[in-house]
């Protein structure tokens, strides 16, 4: 670390009674050094980076019944910020050491409100500590290149975790300080200010300066801030009352997820094992033994899950890890060495994006620990959030009586907000509210209704369900949990379901939170789903895009973009229609009609019609099921892509051809009728061909074809049937008369009455006539 000599912050100032401990969150090596430091120095006060107003939580954290991982959480307008503590968190270890030494303890950062002032991404939890600087930037990249480390995490482990358990906290923390000074020197001032660090550092410096008046101080702060705190001045700012800050049970898995947002080291399961090993040995762990235990522990867990690992493979994994650590010039066998060892020894085959064994190890080291808190401390946040929101929407939750509420969702924004909340609660299956009447935009029923009528009650079951959801880690707020619910129910192969979920999300007011969901939907749609499903989804999506009022999708969702994705996929799939299995042909033909109708109604030109027309022209040219060919020819003809003669030729070819299945003879016809029936009366040659065919059929063939013909003609709506009858009648010189099929005689009537009497008698004889009598009575 000679190069870092230039910036070596004065961390230890015994003459002033000030010692600064620069740390990285969740680093066992830092925790070890900080504890040794506090035990040796016995300071009067230990100050810790954390929201000053949350200081009352320290006492609860130190409660002997509290077992990490736990987290401090701060709620603010539906968002929550977390500061997790695990057994090897330097701050947590420092608190215990301070308590042991009888030192005063407090948090010195800006109050928790500051966490919500910044420009925040709309999704995901907010970490209280942001350590992205440890993993990016020129300084980290340059050091990585020099040490052969692949990223900031490996670099950190290589430089610091490898020194876990060494007794010399002075040189360890000095090196961390130098490293962090380097990070800071390579970070532009503007960026530091933009992150809001300047204000925080002024506050922390003020608290430290004030504390120094009362005796010696150890300040445990994120390494990045240490260089700014070596000469503290100013005075402690006034700390507001603690508000909306809680201690909750937390889990390693959640910590790992939070690490993805730039806070602390990932894979707490691994670092916890390091910490335990150091604790057991009372110093530097025996790295070889530890590596052996870690590999054994992992392979055992995998065997239990049906991925057994043979002994030679375990040995090879260990040998690889140990030799790699040696090659990389470190005594400690660290996370990346073990990853590489496991990957090299256990993978047998080609891997695509993520290597399965490395992925399993990653999941394994995410850890499973769950914290414990004594009753009375823990607040089930989701329950609190739901209650608070219900109250804000003037929904009474003080008792369990059922109440009613009529919501004017079109005209009153407050009513719409309440309705959205009720829909979100319904999405969560809480049983809180029940819509008794109102528009159902998801299924499209009753969308002309203006009011929603709700019955609701805060039953114990509602709370139970919310606690259950919170325990499953679905989120701390109603919108977050509703979003998680949508993700859980999503099925990437079912566009209709996903679209319905998206609609429910919009109805529940999830707004911009739905963006990743819509994007995932777009990805799914671009890769999976059959022609018919995509066509149906496209039609509903088109409807959704044009919805106004309470169901209007937020612009951020870019549903118009989604339409394009679906349309592109549809065109792509259209070229695969010739290979479609027989049982799906009818659906595909219906989907072609659906798409054609959709394009016809698309007045604003959202779709590139030409692409569809081209696809139909191509489809008409290749060999496919006759229904598909008929549909494609008809659509291409209507679009002016092909002459009518092509359709006529295909019709005739199939009528006269030698088909294995009789129905195939009229396949082209039924494909045409199902998609563009008007051709029958608009293009005389078509009608001519069909008519000639039917007229020349002999009786036996006609009877064989009759069922298929009926099915094909059933696709016509009554108006179309009428039209066809009219044209046909004129063609054969008859007068079309919709009412009378022919003149009746008195004899006919008598015959009919006699038949009815005979049927009734027969029914009575069989004891089946009761109904008839009742109706008569």
């Amino acid at each position: 670390m000679q190069d870092a000599e230039a910036f070596r912050p004065a961390l230890f100032q015994p003459e002033r009674g000030l010692w600064i401990a620069p740390i990285r969150h969740h680093s066992p090596a830092c925790a070890w050094a900080v504890r040794a430091m506090i035990r040796e120095l016995r300071p009067a006060q230990v100050l810790i980076e954390g929201p000053a107003d949350a200081t009352p939580l320290i006492e609860r954290l130190l409660d002997p019944r509290c077992r990490p991982p736990v987290a401090m959480v701060n709620l603010h307008q539906g968002r929550s910020a977390y500061a997790p503590f695990c057994a090897h968190s330097p701050e947590y270890v420092a608190m215990h050491a301070a308590q042991e030494m009888g030192a005063g303890l407090r948090f010195i950062d800006l109050p928790a409100d500051r966490l919500f002032g910044r420009d925040l991404p709309d999704t995901g939890p907010i970490p209280m500590a942001d350590e992205q600087v440890f993993d990016e930037g020129d300084y980290v990249a340059a050091l990585c290149a020099r040490t052969g480390c692949r990223d900031g995490f490996e670099l950190w482990d290589h430089l610091f975790e490898a020194r876990l358990g060494t007794g010399d906290w002075r040189s360890f923390l000095t090196d961390v300080g130098a490293y962090c000074a380097g990070l800071r020197a390579a970070t532009p001032e503007a960026r530091i200010a933009a992150r809001g660090d300047t204000a925080r550092e002024v506050t922390m410096a003020g608290h430290i300066a004030a504390a120094l008046q009362q005796g010696s101080v150890v300040a445990v702060v994120g390494g990045f801030h240490a260089p700014a705190l070596t000469d503290p001045s100013g005075s402690a700012s006034k700390t507001p009352q603690m508000r909306d800050s809680y201690l909750i049970r937390y889990g390693h898995a959640a910590m790992d997820a939070l690490a993805g947002y730039g806070a602390g080291l990932p894979q707490p399961g691994f670092y916890d094992a390091l910490w335990q090993a150091a604790e057991t040995s009372g110093g530097t762990p025996d790295w070889r033994v530890l590596a052996g235990e870690l590999v054994q522990d992992f392979t055992q867990a995998m065997s239990a899950r049906g991925h057994p690992v043979a002994l030679p493979a375990k040995v090879e994994a260990l040998r690889m890890a140990e030799t790699l650590a040696g090659l990389r010039g470190r005594a400690a066998i660290l996370r990346h060495d073990l990853f590489d060892g496991v990957q090299a020894a256990l993978t047998k085959g080609e891997v695509s994006v993520r290597e399965p064994w490395a992925e399993r190890l990653r999941r394994h080291w995410r850890g499973t620990a769950l914290g414990e808190l004594p009753a009375g401390i823990s607040a089930p946040l989701l329950v609190e959030d739901a209650r608070a929101r219900a109250a804000a929407h003037r929904l009474a939750v003080a008792d369990t009586l059922e109440k009613r509420r009529s919501l004017d969702i079109h005209r009153k924004p407050r009513h719409l907000a309440a309705s959205r909340f009720l829909h979100a609660m319904a999405l969560l299956d809480t049983g809180f509210g029940r819509m008794e009447a109102g528009p159902d935009y998801v299924s499209g029923v009753g969308t002309d209704r203006l009011f929603e009528e709700w019955a609701y009650a805060w039953l114990p079951a509602v709370e139970t369900r919310l606690i259950e959801l919170a325990a499953e880690g679905r989120g701390e707020t109603v919108p977050a949990a509703a979003m998680a619910q949508l993700w859980a129910q999503r099925d990437s192969a079912d566009p209709a379901l996903n679209l319905a979920l998206l609609a429910r999300g919009i109805r529940a007011g999830l707004g911009a939170r739905l963006v990743p969901f819509a994007q995932a939907f777009a990805r799914d749609m671009a890769q999976s789903g059959g022609f018919a499903e995509i066509a149906a989804a496209l039609q509903r999506l088109y409807g959704l895009v044009h919805t106004r009022g309470p169901m209007r999708p937020p612009d951020e969702l870019d549903l118009a973009g989604l339409l394009q994705v679906g349309f592109a996929r549809l065109i792509y799939l259209a070229d695969a229609l010739p290979q479609l299995p027989e049982d799906m042909v009818a659906k595909a033909v219906a989907a072609l009609r659906l798409t054609a109708d959709l394009l016809a109604s698309d007045g604003e030109g959202r779709f590139d019609r030409q692409m569809f027309d081209d696809a139909m022209a191509r489809l008409a040219d290749v060999r496919a099921a006759p229904e598909i060919t008929g549909a494609a020819l008809a659509l291409a003809l209507r679009a002016g892509q092909l002459p009518a003669a092509r359709l006529v030729a295909a019709l005739r070819g199939h009528f006269l051809g030698a088909a294995l299945e009789v129905e195939d003879r009229i396949g082209v016809l039924s494909g045409m009728i199902a998609t563009v029936p008007d051709l029958l009366w608009q293009v005389p040659e078509v009608l001519e061909t069909v008519d000639v065919f039917l007229v020349t059929l002999d009786e036996a063939d006609f009877l064989t074809l009759l069922p298929s013909l009926r099915r094909a003609l059933a696709a016509l709506n009554p108006r179309e049937t009428d039209r066809l009858a009219d044209v046909l009648a004129r063609r054969h010189g008859a007068r079309p008369d919709p009412l009378v099929a022919g003149p009746f005689t008195e004899a006919d009537l008598a015959l009919g009455l006699a038949a009815q009497a005979a049927v009734l008698a027969a029914l009575r004889a069989d004891g089946l006539a009761e109904e008839e009598e009742e109706v008569g009575a």
Binding site: G148, A310, T323, A345, K348, E350, I571, D575
Partner: protein, 364 residues
């Protein structure tokens, strides 16, 4: 021997670098190794101080694992899409570790067990009877005797029975020669190991038995992840290839960007902007991108006598990369209709590409 060759083996091509590394190498060496593992790493990943160039890009940890795998009992199996520099990596490792990259068996349907063990000089065999002199050792046997690295290219193209012969070879590290007497056998000297490359997804390859798989550590070599870097690499390769052509080899920036984008989009199944793209079954590797761009430059230079444009790329794409698979043709059409068409509005190179691809498509 002819003085000039198209392609020299790695140990000859980088003789200077290897000598510099050997001279500066003070780290411990495993038995039989010509360089220490750290020096091998530097040979492949570069060391500016010693003037050693970087030869393999993108995944340093993979190189570490490959070196350490070769220090143990397991062989090293490099798998991955064609054109991801598997063979080059195997050649570099063999040259640096064993001093020779030429002990190589080219896997094919025609390979028989003798190619892995030994054959005979039949004239001598008939004249003298079985003797060591009459024996023709395989590259594998030579590597064993000399403690070097043997390379087997395209192992999965060998028939299953030939692959089976590898199993005992790799676990016993011994070749017995019963013809020379009951005791005659060659045991591997320290430093011997095997690097195999294989293609697991191509058509017409044989599956590997799990017994054989167990004797190898597998490493998948992935296409280059960084777009900017891939672009530089393609540009450098094109300069190298066009150096001895009679036509000027100018690759406009915009066209190069287009080539990189087309190959990356189709390889990853999505654009940088997140739009999904159907992935063709054809290989869309960096090497294929170089081939396509090279062919486009040749067509532009020799046939059209002008600068290379997006249209040239479009016309070469189907023949060079897509190899006329009808399913892939559809995918290319979808790409052209949706992605290229949109980009054509703002870029002349893409406009030319779109137009040419469309015409090409219609011509079929």
């Amino acid at each position: 021997m002819v003085g000039e060759v198209q392609r020299a083996p790695a140990e000859a091509k980088f003789v200077g670098e290897l000598a510099a590394l050997a001279a500066a190498d003070d780290a411990p060496k495993p038995g039989g190794w010509h360089l220490s593992p750290r020096a091998v790493r530097r040979f492949i990943l570069g060391d500016a101080a010693l003037g050693v160039s970087q030869k393999f890009f993108g995944d340093d940890a993979l190189v570490d694992r490959a070196i350490v795998s070769l220090m143990g009992q397991q062989g090293l199996m490099l798998v991955g899409e064609p054109g991801t520099a598997k063979s080059m990596l195997s050649e570099l490792l063999a040259a640096a570790i064993g001093g020779s990259s030429t002990l190589v068996v080219q896997g094919s349907a025609g390979v028989v067990e003798d190619h892995l063990r030994y054959g005979w000089n039949y004239a001598l065999l008939l004249a003298e009877g079985p003797s060591e002199r009459a024996m023709v050792p395989s590259p594998l046997l030579t590597a064993m005797r000399e403690g070097r690295i043997a390379r087997i290219e395209e192992l999965t193209r060998c028939a299953p029975e030939v692959q089976d012969a590898m199993i005992s070879l790799l676990s016993e590290k011994t070749i017995t020669v019963p013809e020379l007497g009951p005791q005659a056998e060659y045991r591997a000297a320290p430093g011997f190991n095997v690097i195999a490359t294989a293609n697991l997804r191509d058509r017409g390859v044989h599956d590997m038995s799990s017994a054989l798989k167990r004797r190898f550590n597998f490493e998948t070599v992935h296409p280059i992840a960084d777009a900017g870097f891939e672009k530089r690499l393609i540009a450098a390769q094109l300069v190298e290839r066009m150096a001895d052509q009679a036509v000027a080899g100018e690759m406009p920036e915009e066209v190069l960007d287009l080539v990189v984008a087309v190959f990356r989009d189709l390889r990853r199944g999505g654009t940088e902007e997140g739009a999904a793209v159907p992935v063709p079954s054809s290989v869309m590797s960096t090497a294929e991108a170089v081939n396509t761009a090279h062919a486009a430059m040749l067509a532009a230079g020799y046939l059209d006598g002008g600068p290379v444009t997006g249209a040239h790329v479009a016309r070469q794409l189907r023949g060079v990369a897509f190899k006329d698979d009808p399913e892939d043709g559809r995918k290319l059409r979808a790409y052209n209709d949706q992605i290229a068409k949109a980009r054509a509005r703002s870029s002349p190179a893409w406009a030319a590409f779109h137009k040419a691809a469309r015409e090409d498509d219609a011509g079929r």
